[in-house]
């Protein structure tokens, strides 16, 4: 016995920022951003919006749709690169708001975090240790980016997506990797005010765009091939490829290499930008709401992110 996703829920900051609006703030244009990334809007947190409130809202929707009691949740896993606090974890903030006392912890596998969380949840449910696990992916990329660097800040968005998982047999294959190229995509922490080390200001997100693009396209292909081989499937056997929404050009390039039609690679990056580990559950939520995923739909989830990490999962929807 493994898991199935019982429900999903999402929450986005209220402000959607268009490329045109960004063009009034920095030297960029809708044409430049759209043609290189496929992004037209991204939601950016403003005012008193924070990751805890977004996470609670997404979790609330998922719990309601799962038709379970809050007290049925026996584990909370949050995937985030940076919660509202260094500690306690974002998961503990969510647990406090929900009024539950189950184990709660964060994991950081950057943009691959949702698949990492799924694998951990699968193992806890498989062993009978947990029955209902709440997974929340939540990222506030707008506070990690350098807003004076027009080549990166336009790429990202903020948001949260949650799911409740329970007993089932949906996962047919899952594989996680990390390959040691930590310098391609990173953000450095500051030194604090320790008198024993040189003072160092905290940094912003740094990305070697071309290298990340190459990593993403080649790894999506390689990892997909491994998954399909393990299950004795061909690319044609998959109904929907749910790729991490980092850049439309990565998705198009990976799709072309797998020789699959565009409709099998749904995207929503045009409206949300790259929300890191949120992108896959955010897209799943939209596809479920639209009725595009039904019982029996074969999904291949593929994520890649800083580390460089990958996560690949083949799932038959239950």
């Amino acid at each position: 016995m493994g898991l199935r996703i019982l429900s999903t829920g999402i929450s986005l900051p209220k402000t959607a920022v268009s490329n045109d609006r960004l063009a009034t703030m920095m030297n960029t244009s809708d044409q430049w951003i759209s043609s290189r990334t496929g992004i037209k809007y991204r939601h950016i947190a403003s005012g008193d919006e924070n990751l805890t409130s977004l996470s609670i809202a997404a979790a609330g929707t998922a719990i309601e749709r799962a038709a379970i009691r809050v007290s049925d949740i026996d584990m909370i896993i949050c995937s985030t690169m940076c919660g509202d606090y260094v500690f306690p974890s974002l998961a503990c903030c969510v647990a406090e708001a929900l009024g539950v006392t189950c184990p709660a912890f964060d994991l950081n596998a950057a943009c691959s975090g949702f698949i990492y969380a799924l694998d951990i949840a699968d193992k806890f449910i498989s062993t009978g240790r947990s029955k209902h696990i709440l997974i929340v992916c939540a990222e506030m990329m707008s506070r990690l980016c350098d807003w004076t660097d027009r080549s990166t800040c336009v790429l990202f968005g903020d948001g949260a997506a949650a799911c409740v998982v329970g007993e089932g047999n949906a996962i047919k294959y899952i594989n996680l990797t990390s390959d040691g190229h930590t310098h391609l995509l990173y953000q450095q922490v500051g030194s604090g005010n320790s008198p024993f080390r040189p003072q160092k200001e905290p940094g912003f997100l740094v990305m070697a765009g071309q290298d990340v693009f190459k990593f993403a396209v080649s790894k999506v292909g390689q990892q997909t091939e491994l998954a399909l081989q393990a299950l004795n499937l061909t690319p044609d056997d998959i109904d929907l490829y749910i790729l991490h929404q980092a850049n439309k050009r990565i998705i198009d390039s990976a799709r072309a290499r797998l020789e699959q039609p565009e409709e099998k690679f749904p995207t929503n990056i045009d409206r949300y930008g790259n929300t890191s580990s949120v992108t896959i559950p955010l897209l799943l939520d939209e596809l479920l709401e639209a009725g595009s995923i039904k019982k029996g739909t074969k999904l291949l989830l593929s994520a890649f992110g800083a580390g460089m990490t990958t996560g690949t999962c083949v799932m038959i929807w239950e």
């Binding site: 043609s35 290189r36 765009g209 071309q210 290298d211 693009f213 190459k214 396209v217 850049n247 050009r249």
Partner: protein
């Protein structure tokens, strides 16, 4: 090598008549930074090698120099 690169570029651009010389720039071919990476990946597949990305690759000649190293 120029012939092989020419073939990969023609396939990528879906234009069998493009004339490529060592002085042809990727900008002239209307290939932005990500398209250049795709082209390099197609070339890797064609030649069966791994090519290190280099920000200084501006012309087809630059690419040939890297491949000949």
């Amino acid at each position: 090598m120029l012939d092989k690169i020419t073939k990969v570029i023609r396939d990528y651009k879906e234009d069998p008549d493009i004339v490529i010389t060592k002085d042809t720039t990727f900008a002239e071919l209307e290939l932005d930074s990500l398209a250049t990476v795709e082209l390099v990946m197609n070339l890797e597949d064609e030649l069966g090698i791994t090519i290190e990305l280099d920000q200084n690759i501006k012309t087809v000649g630059d690419l040939i120099k890297i491949l000949e190293k």
